[in-house]
Each structure stands twice: as structure tokens, then as C-alpha cells.
Amino acid sequence: MTSPSFPMGPITELRGRAVVVAGDDIDTDRIIPARFLKCVTFDGLGEQVFADDRAERPGEHPLDRPEVQGASLLVVNRNFGCGSSREHAPQALMRWGIRAVVGESFAEIFYGNCLALGIPCFTASHDTVLSLQSALAAAPAQELQVSLDPAAVELSDGRRWDLELQSGPRQMLLTGQWDATSQLLAHGAELERTARALPYLNGF
């Protein structure tokens, strides 16, 4: 698979087709089974995403349907990404092509891992997600547009739903400051001040 360019800089909106992976509590072991963690780089994870689920139903898994090849939006249900903290899960999704996720709720570590890659995780009510999913079931190949401010998804036929995106992550994505490393490195002096005041670093 040729890797599309990864997220960079400010992220304000995304366009593309969507793939629906329905079901609650889809954990990171399913997104990327543990045996694929034996790697020292993330290259190649895109082909292994949902490997076991896909092998169970050859050709039938949503990710294997021809009409969603090249999709960039993932639509899920509740508590997506629970379980192991492995960043290989968002990495695998990103390398498959996913650039944004819409769901009812997300596991916290997964959410943070996605943000750190520049992948917004939008939330929406149960009903909203269901109607979006059924609209996609009726016309799986249609183009969608997702915006961050206001957070919303719009179908090519004009139907539109409001989404939610926490204000902190939203600001970070809009300003391109979702790359945490540079922010953290900006406060070297404050960091050392904090360290000097910690009893366990200073002989109590």
C-alpha cells in the first residue's frame, strides 16, 4: 500500500469517503492483533489493521469492501479503541488511510494517541451515529465533508449532523499545535523549577 501523506500542520476540515466499523467496545487487540506489535517501526501496519476480523470473514469485513478503498473517515460506535494502550492501533488506522473518526465514545488512551497523530475523534449521540451509519449503508461510496469548527459532518446530498469535539483538542488541531513535543520543550525552566520542588528528587 502506498502511504498517503500523514497529517501535518493546522487541520480544519477533511473530505473523503467513509468506512463504517459497527459495534461497541472494539478493542485495540482487534484493531491490531498483538502478534503485529513485534516490529521496531510502524511501517507496514496499514495492511494488518483488523487482521483477525478480516481473516474471519474473508472479503466481507467493512475495510475490504471495494467501494471504501481509499476512505479517510471511520465511523464507529461506543468505547472504540478500548483495551491495550498500543499506539500501533491508531498508527495502523492512519497507515490504512484514516484521517478522522466519528463515534459515540472513545477509550481515553486511544483518543489521546489519535490526537497526537493529528487524527480528530469526533463524538456524537447514539441516534446521530446510527443515522449517519444508515445513510452510509444506503450510499457507501459517497463523499463526506467533516469540519472541525463548528464540528459537523455533511453528506454530498446536503444532509448534515452536528458533532462534538472537545475544545482543547479542537484548538490544538486548528492551530496545528497537536504536536505535543514542541509545546512541552518550550517550558524547560518551569520544568526544572517543578523538579527542584519535588521531595523525592531532592533527598526528601
Partner: protein, 469 residues
């Protein structure tokens, strides 16, 4: 909003700055790394031209991929060998201490940091592994992070974090004989759900918690994450201090007294305010076993697999998926479910007291025909202590295999794995589909003593019937 809790105090002490996105930059007191989630982080560091800011606050070990039969190098699996070699090279290049194989200190990262006295009350602890919540047993704020956060901690010794709410889980009464911290935490997750703790830190408190040993507290906090809580903790007390005293990295001499005074001051005070509180009664908890595909699908060993009608409507699709996957009949008793493989180990239940509890059941008995049963100590120190007591002999005489330390079949990144539809009784922490190395393999989570009981009976059985009365 919570106030005056240990979580609030530790959070405030480690606050470096407020960041543009509304999150807080938090200083990390102890950064634990291992071979699976660190290589990409070191590679990213190199790409950015950065170095490790506090190599002396960073500690490494190797656990996930190590074989538990022969640990001779190079490993038979070239990928595993490459991962360990990469970790060794990264630690050497950055001046990071690696507690490697044969050092006498190697083991599962969440087992060795406490036993070396690295984990202490009042610290922030981060590690690229979700069960980092384990270290909360000491009154530390400890949480799992992803690989790009590992990179951030390496580069800056800090993290961008949002503050959690604090829920106190108050546990009255006492656990009964044959009932362990594992049962308590499976009961909590069963009650509050695998998502119940999302957005919360869990403070475990009350008479039943006060009575737990440090190892039991570690089991409890270890699985806070399975209940959705990114960290769980117990306030430091005399039990904590007694455990820490004399450990290699614990304070000593005059610093010890000052440390105890400071640690004591961190505990949630009588007027601490919690965002939420839930009460449990330890006395009524039975040995608990999972029947499904999340750690929340647990029942007492004397109960039956819930029928669809008994399941919360929201949880029914998941229950139906679990019936199909596990091939267990709704309404049937869980006791008597035949098992194929019995695994005792992991960062949840691979410590000395876990092996003692399992050995007490195995002693003088024998594993049922056709059952593969094996014991994987959590660390080299645990292995040595167990061998010094002759527990290895008890296990091997009973037909269990006695292995070298590592994560093993908890996630099956090494050769220890289920095959096909095999069903395991496992003292680990996750029963997700495919977790134990076979895409169709099945896992029943339970305490180590219950795993030993299952091995002997060849089926799920109530350990209370095997204990001396």
C-alpha cells in the same frame, strides 16, 4: 470538582505549565520503558534531533517478547531478538539503566519497579503500557501512555495531560478465604462496567482495602484500567512503608524518616472532596470468573452465565457476541466449564503471594489429564523467592510447568499461546477475542488460586472447596 485528594495533591506538585490546548504539562517522576513501545519513540527522538532529558529518571526492562522456556541469546524468533537488541542499543546510547535478562532484576515492568523500590508514593509514573495503573498501589499517580507520549517523556520528562475526576470506591467488610484482590476488582468492573471509570481516577479505600497487602493492592490497581479508569490508587499507609523499607531504590537513613512524613501527608484527608463515590461490600464477594470477551463480563463461580434477559439492554449485543465467541450457554453454571490451558502469571497476578496462593491449592494434588498448565513468575526476583520456598517443586510435582519470567501468555507475543479454539483459565487481565495468541482462542479470567483449582479439576471449579477449612 475533587479537592484535597491524593490525586489533587500529586497533580499540583507535578504541574509545570498550562498548555495552549487547555491541557496541563505534568512532570513525570518515573518513566518505565520496555521493548515493545519504545523503539519507535527512540527513532522519533532521533528524527527530531533530541536527546533523553532525564536518563536517570528512565528505567528499562524486557518482558513482553521474552521466551519463557529458553532465554538463551539470540532468541529463536529473529523479530524478538531484534526488539531486544534495539532496546539494548537505545539504552546504551542514552545512558539508561536496563534491567536485562539474567541481571537478577529483570521481569515484567509492573512487577520489577515496585520490588526494586523505584515506585514510591507521590510520584507520577508513566509507561507505554496500559497496566501502569498498577503503581498506584503505592499512592503514585501512574498511567499508561502511547508511543508518541513515550517520545514526549523521553524528550521532556513531561506529558500533556487533562486532569481526571476522582471517584472513591469505598470497600467495607473483608474478603473471605479463597477470595482475592483479583475477585474484588473483577467484581468492581462487573458492577461499574468496562467504561464506568472513563474520565476518572479511582481511589480505593475503606476497611477491606486497608487490610490488603501491597501485592494485593497492585492486583487491584492493575485492573483499574480494565474498568475504564486510567489510574487507580490506594493512599500510602504503614503497609506501604513496610513494603518499601530496605528496597534497593527506596530512601534510607535519615531520608527514610523524612520520606515517610512526606508520603503520609499526601494521603487524601478526612475533608477530601470526591467527584463521585461508590460503596462495595467485600464480605459478599465470591471467587469471580469471566464468561465473555470483556473483563466486565464476570460472574461469581457459583452463578450461571447470564441469559440475555438478565443483561442490561445496552449490553445485549456484546453478550450475544460473547455467547457466539465463547460458545458458553446462557443460563448454564460457569463451574464445570472444561478448560484446556491454565496460565498463572502476568503483571496482575505473577507475584510471590499469587504463586503461594496457587501452590497452596496445587500442593499434593495433580493437574487433570490432558490439561496444559504452566506458571510464569513475574520477575527474576519472584522466581528466586518462589524457588527458595520450594514452590517450583510443588508446581512441578503437581504437573505444572515452571517457566522463566516474562509476560508470556498474557498477550502471547512470545511462543506461549493458545491454539485454535482452546479455552484457558488465566490469571491475567484481558479476555478480549484473540488476546492469548489464537484468533479464536478463549480466555476465562480468574485469580491464580482459581486457575490452580481449574487445572486440577480440568474445569472451572470453586477454589473454596479445595482450601483447608
Amino acid at each position: 470538582m475533587s479537592a484535597g485528594t491524593l490525586y489533587d495533591k500529586v497533580w499540583d506538585l507535578h504541574r509545570v505549565a498550562e498548555l495552549p490546548g487547555g491541557s496541563t504539562q505534568l512532570f513525570i517522576g518515573l518513566h518505565l520503558i520496555h521493548e515493545v513501545t519504545s523503539p519507535q519513540a527512540f527513532a522519533a527522538l532521533k528524527d527530531l534531533g533530541l536527546s533523553v532529558r532525564h536518563p536517570e529518571r528512565t528505567v528499562a526492562t524486557v518482558d513482553h517478547i521474552v521466551p519463557t522456556t529458553s532465554q538463551a541469546r539470540p532468541f529463536a524468533d529473529p523479530l524478538a531478538e531484534e526488539m531486544l537488541a534495539t532496546l539494548e542499543a537505545n539504552c546504551a546510547a542514552h545512558g539508561i539503566t536496563l534491567h536485562g535478562l539474567g541481571s537478577g532484576r529483570q521481569g515484567i515492568v509492573h512487577v520489577i519497579a515496585p520490588e526494586l523500590g523505584l515506585t514510591q508514593p507521590g510520584m507520577t509514573v508513566a509507561c507505554g503500557d496500559s497496566h501502569t495503573s498498577t503503581h498506584g498501589a503505592f499512592g503514585a499517580i501512574a498511567f499508561g501512555i502511547g508511543t508518541s507520549q513515550v517520545r514526549d517523556v523521553l524528550a521532556s520528562q513531561s506529558l500533556s495531560m487533562g486532569k481526571l475526576k476522582v471517584r472513591r470506591l469505598w470497600v467495607e467488610g473483608q474478603l473471605q478465604p479463597g477470595v482475592y484482590a483479583k475477585d474484588l476488582v473483577l467484581h468492581v468492573i462487573r458492577t461499574l462496567g468496562v467504561k464506568g471509570g472513563v474520565g476518572y481516577a479511582y481511589e480505593f479505600a475503606g476497611p477491606a482495602i486497608d487490610a490488603l497487602s501491597m501485592e494485593e493492592r497492585m492486583t487491584l490497581c492493575n485492573m483499574a484500567i480494565e474498568g475504564g479508569a486510567r489510574c487507580g490508587y490506594v493512599n500510602p499507609d504503614a503497609v506501604t512503608f513496610a513494603y518499601l523499607q530496605g528496597r534497593p531504590f527506596a530512601p534510607s537513613g535519615e531520608a527514610w524518616e523524612r520520606a515517610v512524613a512526606w508520603w503520609t501527608s499526601l494521603a487524601s484527608g478526612p475533608d477530601a472532596v470526591f467527584d463521585d463515590e461508590v460503596c462495595f461490600d467485600a464480605t459478599s464477594i465470591a471467587p469471580t470468573v469471566t464468561w465473555g470477551i470483556t473483563p466486565g463480563q464476570g460472574i461469581g463461580v457459583d452463578e450461571t452465565v447470564p441469559t440475555l434477559e438478565q443483561v442490561d439492554p445496552d449490553e445485549r449485543p456484546l453478550a450475544e457476541e460473547a455467547y457466539r465467541y465463547m460458545d458458553l450457554r446462557p443460563g448454564a453454571p460457569i463451574a464445570g466449564t472444561p478448560v484446556d490451558v491454565c496460565f498463572i502469571g502476568s503483571c496482575t497476578n505473577g507475584r510471590l503471594s499469587d504463586l503461594q496462593a496457587a501452590a497452596a491449592v496445587a500442593r499434593g494434588r495433580h493437574v487433570a489429564p490432558g490439561i496444559k498448565a504452566f506458571v510464569v513468575p513475574g520477575s527474576e526476583q519472584v522466581a528466586a523467592a518462589a524457588e527458595a520456598e520450594g514452590l517450583d517443586q510443588v508446581f512441578t510435582a503437581a504437573g505444572f510447568e515452571w517457566r522463566e519470567p516474562g509476560c508470556s501468555m498474557c498477550l502471547a507475543m512470545n511462543p506461549d499461546r493458545l491454539e485454535g479454539r482452546q479455552i484457558s483459565a488465566s490469571s491475567s487481565n484481558r479476555n478480549f477475542k484473540g488476546r492469548q495468541g489464537s484468533a479464536t482462542g478463549r480466555t476465562l479470567l480468574m485469580s491464580p488460586a482459581m486457575v490452580a483449582a481449574a487445572a486440577i479439576a480440568g474445569q472451572v471449579s470453586d477454589v473454596r472447596q479445595l482450601l483447608p477449612t
